[in-house]
Symmetry: C2
Subunit: 428 residues, 2 copies
């Protein structure tokens, strides 16, 4: 049996997908139970040079040649972004085609609508490549781990920021210097906002959480901070305290059903499995009530790894077409999530302050923390410089509200010249 | 819709499976697309006390009440061992029931026959729980990673030996002492052979490799060594050289298609992700041609983690029954594997020798290594004791044949009083 597919988009992921399909055709066919044939590839730039050889006779600038071709049963949307990808995906689904995509932004913003349309049409909508490159994450959450109530997801899901933080940690360099170098090497975009300000991690977290908790996640409910504020000095202190700083994506479900969703830099204990996830590698730690702690680790991006995930999904869609098992996994959200207000989120904190080197200053701050319900775990004070001492405070678990009111109180304290950094501590 | 299932066996995994099914019923039903109802539980010991409450009216000592009940569509075989499990599984399949199992020995020894029967009968035969407890491994290899040519599997798949080696590493204690303690704590069996001599790891490797390489694996083709010979002294040297010692299961496919299959203790670089897999945790590192390096990590055993995997498979079997997609993943081996002779396997070696502390001895050994094609990477010599120096040799990549002929040559050398340890170095 042959199954015809169409590819939309011929960028990095499109080329990776075609390359994997071609070079591994001999092993893919028996595994899929059919021959997977690329019938058409649509791109706005048919003549652009590509890193792999493309059969020109398959290339078209007209997406309708894919979307309107009844012979094409599976469409891989690899354009990225919301427009026109969303329209193409909805049209493919309406035409009864299964759709595979690696488009995190599209799923994060319009997943609920697309999944509902796919369920209604009885087609597959698969997106393993949208999070963590080739690392199996979405499929295991939907299948092998389906017996679990997921308690927590804690992940490093953005390769660019992990590369930057790893380099800052190894070399003691500043964020700006490492970013400039990463841009020169092509590891970071000219406009690095999507990565360094946490948007990319936010999209990915919303996708993972929506599956883990069977709930539609609105990205507005995710607290998001990027890594621009992380300094070499914080990394140095973290190391001294036996932590590393990582940009984490966290989703935690509490016993009352309340959901915490956050993306921000955090101190992770050097003993935690995530602490050794370096460079462009990604990893996601899942805590399930039955399975306990499991972790998935690998390359979070790139033509071949993402191509691996996209082709894995194409194989699944082809299998389901072959045996009549399309839409076998119901992942339509079953309930609206109960989002816990950010002020109620609890975590340990790392607070770096500048304090006049005079008697009673430390006590003033410690008292203010205590008055606002923040209890302290440890304090590091270094030699003072020009009459100012730098003090790092590590707190026990504290609500965001208590930390916020402590910080507000500091405004009026002579003892606090400046709060230089405020970072959370995650991963137990 | 309701799907009735039968459980064979009410030991640790059986109880874990029932517990997960019951306590998470509310989330399992929407995910499976049906209600999963346990209709019968068969055990030889109906009245034995169990850690969970069991509905007595479901329990029977007669497996026929499950195998002959047309109403039961899925059977979970959780007895373990080959007899009578094999007979029950074959009968369930012949009766058109899907079968889920966590029985590694059964699959390692009779998987080919059972899988062929399941394909013929058009039923599912699923066994995620047979390797790595609740860690998703088999499903990701069959689905998300199906686009890859797997180059290598390197795993820590036995919790008992990993616990023993971790404790030896942390405390500097001997194998015998730690084993005795593990037995007292219930982490090791009274007869520890299956674990410490590598049989358990061998079964699991044969299962993973048969899926990764689409080939039936005969356990006789797996080179197997246990950890009884690992000494506190070797662990100490390894630490000094920046390695840890782990019992690894390795399958490597070479460019000519030749397959290397081995279970043995090995030195793993302290920087390798597997080096930090401690205590009873398991992890499997997969190198695919497209995905690159991915790793799966979690608890490798226990009632709840294995129950998580078994129930995940029950959910999959139920989904496939619901949508008519049974037997959607073809994992019948596609070809006989080409097993590379063990003498041709190449690896780096760690060789610990006792050498008379006299001039020319070291040169004698180095010359013998060279004459047999073994090139040396580094040498560690410690202060001698009663005229005997201990020398540790780290080699470059060397074939087993060259190492064997070096060792044979040592027999005739005055310089080698004893080869105290021979360990391989894995993980790049």
């Amino acid at each position: 049996m042959k199954i015809h597919i169409g590819i939309l988009g011929l960028g990095t992921v499109g080329c990776g997908t075609l390359d994997v399909l071609k070079r591994n055709a001999a092993i893919i066919a028996p595994r899929a139970g059919c021959e997977i044939v690329v019938k058409r590839i649509a791109t706005k730039h048919p003549d652009k040079p590509r890193p792999i050889e493309i059969d020109k006779s398959l290339v078209t600038a007209d997406v309708d040649e894919i979307l309107n071709d009844p012979d094409i049963k599976i469409v891989a949307e690899l354009i990225g972004g919301v427009d026109p990808a969303r329209d193409y995906v909805m049209r493919a689904i309406a035409a009864g085609k299964s759709v595979v995509t690696a488009n995190k932004e599209l799923i994060a913003k319009h997943g609920v609508e697309i999944i509902a349309a796919a369920e209604k049409a009885g087609v597959d909508f698969l997106f393993e490549g949208s999070v963590g490159g080739g690392i199996p994450l979405i499929n295991p959450l939907r299948e092998s781990l389906a017996a679990n109530r997921v308690r927590e997801l804690l992940g490093i899901v953005n390769g660019t920021t992990n590369y930057i933080l790893t380099k800052m940690t190894r070399e003691g360099s500043s964020f700006d210097d490492v970013l400039a170098e990463a841009q020169k090497l092509g590891y970071a975009e000219t406009d690095p906002t999507a990565d360094v300000d946490g948007f990319d991690s936010m999209y990915k977290l919303s996708i993972l959480a929506s599956i883990a908790f069977n709930a539609p996640i609105n990205i507005k409910d995710i607290h998001r901070e990027g890594i621009r504020g992380v300094t070499a000095r914080d990394i140095e202190y973290a190391k001294e305290l036996n932590y590393v700083i990582k940009l984490v994506a966290l989703a935690r479900q509490h016993d009352d059903g309340g959901l915490e969703l956050r993306v921000h830099p955090a101190l992770i204990s050097a003993q935690h499995p995530l602490a050794n996830v370096n460079d462009v590698f990604n990893a996601v730690f899942v805590r399930g009530d039955a399975v306990g702690d499991v972790m998935f680790y690998g390359r979070g991006a790139g033509a071949d790894p993402t191509g691996s995930a996209v082709v894995g999904d194409i194989i699944e869609a082809a299998r389901n077409l072959g045996v009549g098992g399309r839409n076998r996994v119901h992942h339509e959200p079953t309930h609206a999530p109960h989002i816990r207000p950010f002020s109620e989120s609890k975590t340990r904190f790392y607070v770096r302050t500048q304090v006049p080197d005079e008697p009673g200053m430390l006590a003033q701050i410690a008292t203010a923390f205590g008055q606002h319900g923040v209890s302290l775990e440890s304090i590091v004070q270094k030699k003072s410089h020009e009459g100012i001492a730098e003090i790092v405070w590590m707190t026990h678990d504290t609500s965001q509200a208590n930390m916020d009111s402590s910080l507000a109180a500091f405004e009026k304290l002579e003892a606090v010249r400046e709060v230089s950094s405020l970072l959370r501590v995650e991963g137990n």
